[in-house]
């Protein structure tokens, strides 16, 4: 599973990083962000691309697990 570290980045960079990573066409990805705007935008993008998203929060960081 490809892991994308988008901590410290603001919109639209995390979405762009995930989009680039998705070029590999895997069925699962993990992406870490550290703000709610990125959490929402990444969730939207992943759902739009046909992935189900689950979010785990710890210490102000959000780990999003994407599966299809």
């Amino acid at each position: 599973m490809t892991r994308v570290d988008a901590r410290g980045l603001s919109c639209p960079e995390p979405v762009v990083m995930l989009r680039n990573a998705m070029a590999s066409g895997e069925d699962a990805y993990e992406i870490v962000v550290d703000n709610t705007v990125s959490r929402e935008n990444v969730t939207r993008f992943a759902e739009h691309q046909g992935y189900a998203v689950s979010v785990a929060e710890a210490d102000g960081e959000y780990t999003l697990t994407l599966k299809r």
Partner: protein, 346 residues
């Protein structure tokens, strides 16, 4: 060889998306003493676009300021858009801008010619508005900033505040939504050249023509739709006027490309701030898509005028507006307060 530093790369936040949220702003201003002056007929306690101070029975002074970091890489266009956006607050009060001061921050990475082009864009907008730039103030800092402090005039009886909407009014918006989503997407390289040209032209367009038509009609209330988005500014209008604003989602004009990009998650941080602020005042009454709501919360840079006019004159106003600003559209109506400040309908 391309050695120039991209202006938008020097900015952490684009255009009106840099605006501090309305809720945060209200908390910052809490507890400050406001001085009463009978001639100050619109002050900062009203959350309006500009302050208005009566000088004599025929003249009131309109004052406002607006500035932001680069929203585009072309320095001339950036200067033009920032100035057009600042001048718009005077138009939103029904006034005419007359004097302006430059407000500027430059960084070490900026070439002299870049700074001059920004100013040239600002001067061009001011002159087109019939205003003159009489001076200004420039500092050096970490991020570029440009904008204007603008003074204008309006007849004291013809001031258009954001708190004058009346039950029975029809709401008209003069520019399509989606600027925040599209400028955010542009940073990700997701927007084609022709679409960029279209939104740049829109942001660079003064609200002068729309204002000049508006003042020929008995418009009750006006505001410009900028950083707080359609819903934030409508919320202020509804609250200030003590009415309910009904927005008809199916009639709200927007850039179609912005809809798809919002659906994909290219949503600026300012849109989330606007949602936090206005959502308690908004009730969605129809099956309106998530992306459409995003566009209604999307911060607009140099957005259009939102005006409330009696239903009987609304058709003629819209007809004349469309000669000047073809995208103008009726987007809703006003009733006595019922249920919530804003009801979103189909």
């Amino acid at each position: 060889m391309e050695t120039e530093v991209k202006l938008t790369k020097l900015a952490s936040c684009a255009g009106c998306g840099a605006k501090v949220g309305a809720g945060t702003l209200a908390r910052l201003l809490e507890g400050f003493e406001t001085r009463y002056d009978p001639n100050l007929i619109v002050g900062y306690d009203k959350s309006d676009d500009a302050s208005v101070y009566v000088l004599d029975e025929n003249t009131a002074l309109v004052q406002t300021t607006d500035f932001f970091p680069p929203i585009v890489d072309d320095p001339y266009l950036y200067g033009r858009i920032a100035a057009v956006n600042a001048l718009s607050d005077v138009y939103a009060m029904g006034g005419e801008p007359k004097l302006a001061l430059n407000i500027m921050c430059v960084t070490d990475a900026m070439e002299k010619s870049t700074v001059q082009e920004i100013l040239r864009g600002g001067y061009g907008a001011a002159y087109e508005a019939g205003a003159i730039i009489t001076g200004g103030h420039t500092i050096s800092g970490a991020e570029p900033i440009y904008g204007l402090a603008v003074s204008g005039f309006v007849h004291p009886q013809k001031v258009l505040t954001n708190s004058g909407a009346r039950p029975g009014d029809v709401l008209i918006l003069t520019k399509p939504l989606g600027i925040g989503v599209l400028t955010t997407s542009a940073k990700a390289g997701m927007v084609d050249g022709p679409v960029l040209t279209r939104i740049y032209d829109q942001m660079a367009q003064l609200n002068k023509a729309a204002r000049d038509v508006m003042v020929r009609f008995p418009v009750h209330s006006c505001t410009d739709v900028t950083g707080f988005a359609l819903l934030g500014h409508s919320f202020e209008m509804a609250q200030g006027s003590g009415v309910t604003v009904h927005l008809q989602a199916g009639r709200v004009p927007f850039h179609p490309e912005a809809y798809d990009l919002a659906d994909m998650g290219f949503i600026p941080a300012g849109a989330y701030r606007n949602r936090d602020y206005a959502e308690p005042g908004v009730t969605v009454k129809a099956d309106v898509s998530r992306a459409m709501l995003d566009l209604m919360y999307d911060p607009q840079t140099s957005g259009g005028l939102l005006m409330a006019v009696g239903e009987e004159r609304s058709e003629e106003l819209l007809r004349q507006l469309r000669d000047a600003v073809p995208c103008a559209a009726v987007i809703g109506y006003v009733t006595d307060y019922t249920e919530n400040s804003i009801l979103i309908e189909a």
